[in-house]
């Protein structure tokens, strides 16, 4: 039987994304999505954030989080559609849309994080 070596690699990225998002996303969403906009915590000044986000290491870590998070979403959501809505017959199309969106999103993330600011 022929091996299909792509699936295992996507699964590794999915798992890596699962770990990374589990560790980083709750605190980031709490701070930037709720605590700062609603004033629970005084939002940091622009100069401070600009300095943190200006550092190359921050940009690379955030890019890694974005790419892994998007692949994690694409893989999981593809299978959720497969099982939740029983879309197995159009799995190829679903896969193209999901992984395609992750690739486009990753390129956008790289553009924002590496080539602006």
């Amino acid at each position: 039987m022929r091996r299909r070596p792509v699936e295992p690699l996507v699964w590794l990225l999915f798992s890596g994304g699962g770990v990374a998002t589990a560790l980083f996303f709750p605190i980031l969403l709490f701070l930037f999505g709720l605590a700062f906009p609603l004033g629970w915590i005084e939002p940091p000044g622009h100069a401070h954030l600009d300095a943190v986000l200006g550092h190359l290491l921050t940009r690379i870590v955030l890019l890694g989080l974005c790419v892994l998070g998007l692949v994690h979403w694409a893989h999981r959501f593809r299978y959720t559609l497969h099982e939740g809505l029983q879309l197995g017959r159009v799995d190829n199309q679903v896969a193209i849309v999901c992984y395609g969106a992750a690739v486009v999103g990753s390129i956008a993330a790289a553009y924002v994080l590496l080539f602006t600011g």
Partner: protein, 247 residues
């Protein structure tokens, strides 16, 4: 005071006569030491000899009396009537399998999948004169948990992935593949991986985890599948990174 009887709503399917199963009610004695299977045997012996179902050992070893009890896959020999008092108790065939008659399902598909993963020790045999294959207690411990599987198919009944896609190899077969892969005497891991690295093998599983929850022998098929995925993924990664000879 507990009532002295309990109602069993039993799925009946008479092929050729009915298009789909219907429920039929029977009142059976409610006794502390009776399991659902005892209730069915009472129906068969005393009330309705036409009821069909499978059973053998009555002690959770043969794996043939699996049925769906109030929506959950159960070994009926290990499920007490009193757990469901005052009833009624709905007894249906195992889910996700074709129903042949009443509570009897067609298990051919499972047996076919089981044999595909070669659940036996694969090895270039040495002559008997060279002695037995030795194994330490630690090596035994590696796979002992998976060797507890009794092929009762409750995990297949609980698995929505198998229910949706019949091609999925399924929990017990993969757990048993792991049982032999992890056996220090076995040399068949590469053969089994060829079967299971296929999209209908390992990767169909999304870790719903219900197989592990319903397993009466605590085999943990869901864990076995994820661990196998990790092994398969690392293997694939190595095949990309290492030169051919070093794999």
């Amino acid at each position: 005071m507990m009532a002295d009887t309990i109602t069993l709503d039993v799925a009946r399917y008479r092929p050729g006569q009915e298009a789909e199963p219907t429920l039929q009610s029977y009142d059976v004695p409610l006794r502390d030491d009776w399991v659902v299977l005892d209730g069915l045997n009472y129906v068969k012996d005393e009330l309705d000899g036409t009821l069909s179902y499978r059973w053998s050992c009555r002690m959770g070893i043969c794996g043939s009396c699996g049925m769906t009890v109030n929506g959950e896959p159960k070994l009926t020999c290990a499920t007490f009537l009193t757990e469901y008092a005052p009833g009624p108790i709905r007894v249906e065939p195992l889910g996700n399998f074709p129903v042949l008659r009443d509570l009897v399902v067609d298990i051919d598909d499972f047996l076919d999948k089981l044999s595909r993963v070669k659940p036996w020790i694969v090895r270039d045999e040495a002559p008997v004169s060279e002695g037995e294959y030795l194994q330490t207690p630690d090596e035994l411990e590696e796979f002992r948990q998976y060797s507890m599987c009794i092929n009762c198919m409750l995990c297949y009944s609980a698995c929505p992935v198998y229910g949706i896609d019949e091609e999925f190899v399924g929990p017990a077969a993969i757990a048993l593949a792991q049982r032999y892969n992890l056996d220090s005497r076995d040399e068949g891991a590469a053969d089994r991986l060829d079967v299971l690295i296929h999209p209908d093998g390992l990767w169909g599983c999304t870790f719903v985890g219900d197989c592990t929850r319903v397993c009466p022998k605590h085999v943990d098929p869901a864990g076995a599948i994820q661990r196998y995925k990790l092994t398969a993924a690392m293997d694939t990664l190595k095949s990309y990174l290492l030169p051919r000879g070093r794999r």
